[in-house]
Point group: C2
Chain length 378, copies 2
């Protein structure tokens, strides 16, 4: 058979020759195929290989994973046919049998945000390194969507879930549901205080403290903080960092200088009210970059100079911070590292099956990136 030119035809003959039992069905298989010899429209299975070779599925299965019980000759034949048929193991069957799907789920607010998309890159890299697949689900910051995707991940029997909670999530039954079903959870960035679980976060308190202190150091006397909703821990921590920095420099914390304002839209809605307060703000610390940039644009439009009249600091260090003008001082958050480390935590839980071990927490230290929006000549 090695003398034949066309390897496909060669194996077809080989296969037919070795048949003993069900020649008919095989023949049907061949005659049914249109123009694609040896390739049905449906994925090849171990059964197909076994049938073509006239051996049992057990043998094929063992041959494919190089089991010592199988002869070299058989292994060769099996692998050849498998290659020709483009055989790929059915992950559903594998998962059902082993009750492990080698897939991890991700519940993430919105991937449009640069930070979250870099987190995903870190997650994917860590997962692929370990042979795991990733299933990414957006909650779109909506509690309902979060519950839906959590259940979908449960349905698919993912081996673990990485989650950063939505702004609007106040109930967490859907997450404890996952835990109750033996699916380990690891939080990243936006953690949930009510659930005992591993977590990877940045030191939001410290980042906010540094940001505020920097504004103070360049001479700001009346610093406004644009904050996130209260149920978000990261928002709270950043607010506390802001307050503490003021206190440590003997500046009073004016509650009226703290606004719930974490999107561009809210900035456009509230900015005039904020700017018309007395004493007038000369510094802004916003809970994220896009809010900070919106402020930057609005105050410029209102005739103020940045950073001379008003200095601004954001949080996150997305690429936008270098394309606005002036460029934005911000607190760097290494999304990739957060995703990578969180996934390492999760894989650890999965492979070690140590769901019992105490919750670990990794806190990454952010760094303040100084740019033009706070670059005053002091």
């Amino acid at each position: 058979m090695q003398t034949m030119g066309d390897p496909l035809a060669a194996s077809a003959i080989l296969a037919v020759m070795q048949l003993n039992t069900n020649v008919f069905t095989i023949f049907m298989k061949f005659s049914n195929e249109r123009s694609k010899p040896f390739m049905s429209t449906t994925p090849a299975t171990i059964k197909d290989i076994a049938r073509l070779l006239g051996i049992s599925v057990s043998t094929v299965s063992r041959a494919l994973k190089d089991h010592p019980d199988i002869s070299a000759e058989t292994k060769e034949k099996v692998n050849e046919i498998a290659r020709k048929l483009n055989y790929r193991p059915n992950a559903l069957a594998l998962g059902l049998k082993s009750s492990r799907s080698t897939t991890i789920g991700v519940i993430i607010p919105e991937i449009v945000h640069f930070f979250f998309s870099t987190v995903i890159s870190g997650i994917e890299d860590a997962a692929y390194e370990a042979g795991y697949n990733v299933m990414v689900c957006q909650s779109n910051e909506m509690y309902e969507r979060e519950t839906i995707v959590a259940k979908a991940l449960l349905d698919h029997r993912v081996d673990g879930v990485l989650v950063s909670i939505a702004k609007s999530s106040a109930k967490f039954d859907h997450l404890t549901l996952l835990q109750d079903n033996g699916i380990p959870l690891v939080f990243f960035d936006r953690v949930c205080s009510f659930i005992e679980s591993d977590a990877v976060v940045v030191d939001d308190y410290k980042g906010a403290y540094m940001a505020t202190e920097h504004l103070i150091s360049i001479g700001c006397k009346n610093i406004v903080h644009l904050a996130a909703p209260e149920n978000l821990l990261i928002g709270e921590l950043r607010k506390v960092g802001y307050c503490r920095a003021l206190e440590d420099h003997n500046m009073a914390v004016d509650p009226y200088n703290i606004y719930l304002c974490d999107t561009r839209e809210k900035v456009e809605e509230k900015i005039h009210r904020i700017l018309s307060r007395d004493p007038k703000p000369d510094g802004f610390f916003a809970v994220n970059d896009s809010t900070a940039i919106a402020v930057l644009q609005e105050v410029k439009k209102a005739g103020y100079r940045v950073p001379e009249d008003i200095a601004i600091v954001g949080f996150g260090d997305g690429p936008n911070t270098t394309i606005c003008s002036p460029t934005l001082t911000t607190v760097e958050q290494n999304g990739y590292e957060i995703g990578y480390e969180a996934t390492r935590f999760l894989l650890d839980r999965i492979t070690k099956c140590n769901t019992g071990a105490a919750a670990r927490k990794k806190v990454l230290t952010p760094v303040l990136v100084k740019r033009e929006s706070t670059d005053r000549k002091v």
Copy 2:
């Protein structure tokens, strides 16, 4: 039993009472659980429900889907236990049985880009509306990664795949592999000319034509085009649109005015060479927004005024275009709509099983969004 206060305890009793055969295993089940009555660490199955109720799995299965053969009483009991156990059907088993996973795969270059992440939003919405889940995989613009994720999607027996090819992909065996296995393909944005399949794209030619014509209309005489690699059809089409617009206005197409330059890095590398050419460029049409914005920043840095000395147009209309200064004129691409329509195409193929029908193509018309970077007083 309705008189008891605790519904959990009530059903436990109910369950034990109804047992006839395997009391022992049930008892084991209870005594094994720590602090979580009625909830093992592993997901509940139909078998569990059947065992607790002393009925067969077939009955439970039918009861759960409201089959007329099952009595109202049984249905009620089954549903009650199912709810208590947080029963969720095993998607792996369902997929294996039906050879449909109600999951669609997405192969996308990089979700960091605003355009692609909006596409995903459109995909998700269309998929969820139809009860499908979405598995998003990034190729990171790498051919190897693209082949890996394609195989992973095949392994998971997704019902269909949406794909936008990586810049570096020149071979497409991994995609025909999917087709050969009966998995329908729909391309979005970056199509592959060698594979006959459905596609949803924007009219890149027209978008480029409009952009170039706009530059001409504001008085640009020497317009540079920063192009994508040649193997990307969208890049080619945009280049052709650029050339055609010049020709239609009796302006010569200078091949030296066309550069392979589609990232910020390449701009920083080549901009000085480009600007030092004679005649000096007075207009730029870049193949995407981030490239255009990089140009904008570099020419400003080099002392030129935008748009007075040099006018710039991008492609894509991401949010960056409104935060750079001056704001960027660009060609709007409705990513959400592309994703939504592509998914509709795919679901159509899946549900209708009409893999045989001719390939359909939907071309969305982009619109030119004029902003400051071309706002000359003419």
